[in-house]
């Protein structure tokens, strides 16, 4: 029996895996101590759990546990990394580089730094959503101190070439931050190999709880950041505030499961994604946004031409999807990520992001394909544009009358 609406919005947030929730519950009941309490077993027990979770997070990305700082989520991690490094290294230069398709947590933080006197370059992406390395190298200046590029894009799922970017940054002594919120459990991350100095993680995109994330801060060669939250000196002075033990335990367990199950799970998810893609490919005038090879298997972002975006969302209410990222979905602006790929406003508006995850079933995918076939056909029946296209009119040559 299908439960409606079908959840295909795993990039917005994921359910907490029941095994994760189970691991969290004791820390919401009898093991309630504050890990900073040094004088009694309630505190010691909590601290031990926090350190075990830290080791699990480190293990997924092949880092040292001492390189992991707890935060309230990836947005805070991005803010801490970017402002923290920019301020610490501002004596060396004031130029920063990022990409137009980054998450708002990165872009808004860059805007804030620009207001404070830093200069920023926002790289364009190619039509497939990836950055052009030669173009990136040309953007580097002698006073460039920080580069921030996400590993996996939240809207189109493409994987940026962070290994190559890291080499270039390391050669030139530039701090390299990577937002990996959408990457953990979806693509392998090896921080012994990657020349990445800072990396932001989130639990709730990887079947862990909301309200918890982490920042990786490299020890060798050492990357320095200025703390953004001050107080009791938790997290070696880099992030003060009582640690939320149950959430940390949940993140540790979520990342442990990701490490153990990723290989098998991703094959299953790839099969479902390909089934969805095949199913939708029969529909006329459908385009996939973003590179299909350099992409996590969880994501399919599709534009349905000659369909009005809002009507489309209304017509497929039985599937919970988004037309952009959740963070910007409150606005009716077309996705800035799709615009950066060169999509028109109209096409960006009629695009849907399908993101698949641990609990998605084949039955749900089949239902979704069938629903889209029916509803797109119905919407196009009402569309005068579609009628013109079917009659062979090239819409680009039409002279529209002004109102």
């Amino acid at each position: 029996m299908l439960k409606l609406p079908i959840y295909l919005d795993y990039s917005a947030t994921t359910p907490v895996d029941p095994r994760v929730a189970e691991k969290m519950i004791p820390y919401l009941t009898e093991k309630f101590g504050n890990p900073a309490s040094r004088s009694h077993p309630f505190g010691w027990e909590a601290e031990k759990a926090v350190e075990e979770a830290r080791a699990e997070v480190a293990r997924l990305v092949n880092a040292d546990p001492r390189e992991i700082i707890w935060t309230s989520g990836a947005t805070e991690s991005d803010n801490l990394a970017i402002k923290g490094a920019a301020h610490f290294y501002s004596g060396k230069g004031k130029h920063l580089i990022t990409v137009r398709t980054e998450h708002k947590a990165v872009l808004d933080t860059f805007r804030e730094l620009e207001r404070q006197g830093f200069e920023a370059t926002y790289l364009d992406v190619m039509e497939n959503g990836l950055i052009d390395l030669a173009h990136f190298e040309r953007a580097i200046r002698p006073d460039t101190i920080l580069v921030s590029v996400m590993l996996v894009n939240n809207e189109i799922g493409v994987i940026q070439p962070v290994a190559a970017i890291g080499e270039i940054c390391r050669d030139r002594g530039i701090v390299f931050h990577v937002d990996a919120a959408q990457a953990t459990g979806k693509t392998p991350i090896d921080l012994q190999e990657l020349k990445v100095d800072l990396m932001a993680f989130s639990a709730h995109k990887t079947c862990g709880p909301k309200g918890i994330g982490a920042l990786y801060v490299r020890r060798k060669p050492r990357c320095r950041i200025e703390p953004q939250m001050h107080g009791g000196g938790h997290e070696r002075g880099l992030r003060s505030g009582t640690l939320a033990t149950h959430q940390i335990v949940g993140m540790g367990e979520a990342f442990r499961l990701a490490r153990e199950e990723m290989a098998v799970e991703n094959e299953r998810i790839r099969m479902l994604r390909d089934r969805l893609l095949r199913g939708l490919s029969d529909i006329e005038a459908v385009e996939v946004n973003g590179d299909l090879d350099a992409r996590v298997p969880h994501n399919l972002n599709v534009s349905f031409a000659y369909v009005e975006g809002e009507s489309l969302i209304m017509a497929i209410k039985d599937v919970a999807v988004s037309s952009g990222s959740a963070c910007t979905s409150a606005s009716l602006e077309p996705s800035y990520v799709l615009r950066a790929l060169g999509r028109s406003d109209e096409l960006a508006h009629s695009s849907i992001r399908f993101t698949i995850g641990r609990f998605t079933t084949q039955e749900e995918i089949d239902y979704t394909v069938d629903l889209l076939h029916r509803q797109i056909a119905k919407l196009r029946e009402l569309s005068p544009l579609w009628e013109m296209v079917k009659e062979g009119v090239d819409l680009n040559t039409v002279q529209w009358a002004a109102h």
């Binding site: 989520g73 708002k104 805007r111 909301k210 001050h230 959430q247 959740a326």
Partner: protein
């Protein structure tokens, strides 16, 4: 399993079972991102709206004045740094007994051209009105005075200070983290510009807090991004913890009178016993939280006493958890003019919902035993 008696509720309080019940759906089937426009998202948004109303009601504020954060420390940072970013640098004045998240945030402003003024307290730990006036006269435009101290439990009479601040066109913030749930907290009656709250001190979960902010006060966010919380605090909302915070606030308000009365009775019983042992209770000359006793037994080291009490099955603290890694004596006590040696003797007992008369009696017996044992071992006495 042997379970010690928990007497450290000011560090963190156990989660109320009714709060857990309110949180579980959001760790289960209602997992949506509150920014999503589909049904999963709307469920999450509704939970946050309800919690916002409950938190506002508990603090005598309007729901639109509530900004959810990851906790009290973040709320304190947000107000001090966020308000300072929108003001011309002048002086920032904080009381000498503030939580480290207030003191350190204020200290950060020095690098931005602000002068830091510490407002002195009297021997009982109360902010001196003259010292507050002096800070205002010296041009303090940003001030912070806590409602109740985390170590001594001493209460500050914030409302008159807020009046003085308003007259001087200064902003006054109050950290109400320890006060909420133990005494009435009313944003309007206090007349402050902002108030900090935390969930995990009132039987809610760790990982949720709030800044209550007068909307006329301009604030720059600490965390930029998706624009959540009216752009003042970006990041996907921690729905389960926020729902738990809301429920904890409802319970705190509904049960405040009985709870505070019960705690006060337990504390009085404890203090009678302590007096019989010759203990010195810090801040005893002031009005204090009904659950907190910060005391010393003459000649005995606090750290040692706390370690021995732990072995006897009682979890208490030698000071605040946030600074429990540092061997320095409590800055609160030093600010009250307590000598360093005496301050090193400090032990904090903070009572909560799970404690009863029996715990207090047993604790007093264990304390008397421990003290007499330690006194026979001159090496550990100070």
């Amino acid at each position: 399993m042997f379970s010690p008696v928990y007497l450290d509720h000011n560090a963190t309080a156990p989660l109320d079972a009714r709060v857990l019940e309110a949180m579980l759906p959001y760790l289960g089937s209602r997992f949506g991102n509150a920014s999503s426009r589909h049904e999963y998202g709307r469920q999450a948004r509704r939970a946050i709206d309800e919690a916002r109303a409950a938190v506002a009601a508990a603090a005598g504020a309007h729901p639109t004045e509530v900004i959810f954060t990851s906790g009290g420390s973040e709320a304190n940072n947000l107000f001090l740094k966020g308000a300072a970013a929108c003001l011309r640098p002048a002086a920032v004045a904080v009381s000498a007994v503030e939580h480290p998240s207030v003191r350190e945030s204020a200290r950060q402003l020095v690098a931005l051209g602000w002068k830091l003024r510490e407002i002195a307290v009297d021997r009982a730990g109360r902010v001196e009105a003259d010292a507050f006036d002096a800070a205002l006269a010296e041009g303090a435009s940003l001030c912070s005075v806590m409602l109740a101290n985390n170590e001594t439990g001493v209460l500050q009479d914030v409302a008159p200070l807020a009046g003085r601040a308003r007259a001087a066109r200064a902003l006054l913030h109050a950290d109400a983290v320890q006060a909420l749930g133990k005494m009435p907290v009313d944003f309007r009656a206090l007349g402050v510009s902002a108030l900090t709250l935390s969930a995990h001190k009132i039987g809610g979960p760790q990982g949720a807090g709030a800044l209550i902010l007068d909307k006329r006060v301009e604030l720059a966010p600490l965390i930029a991004g998706g624009g959540q919380e009216r752009g003042l605090r970006s990041g996907t909302e921690n729905v389960a913890a926020i729902a738990g915070f809301g429920r904890a606030c409802e319970l705190a308000i509904a049960e405040l009178d009985g709870h505070a009365r019960r705690l006060r009775r337990l504390r009085e019983r404890l203090e009678r016993g302590l007096a019989a042992l010759g203990a010195l209770v810090f801040g005893s000359g002031a009005e204090r939280l009904p659950n907190t006793v910060f005391f010393a037994l003459p000649g005995l080291d606090g750290e040692t006493l706390v370690a021995q009490l732990d072995r006897a099955g009682f979890a208490c603290a030698s000071g605040s958890a946030c600074s429990s890694a540092s061997p320095e004596p409590s800055h609160t006590l030093l600010a009250m003019g307590v000598a360093r040696e005496a301050a090193r003797g400090a032990v904090r007992v903070s009572l909560g919902r799970g404690n009863d008369e029996r715990h207090v009696e047993q604790f007093l017996v264990a304390l008397a035993d421990t003290a007499s044992r330690l006194k026979r071992m001159p090496a550990v006495a100070v």
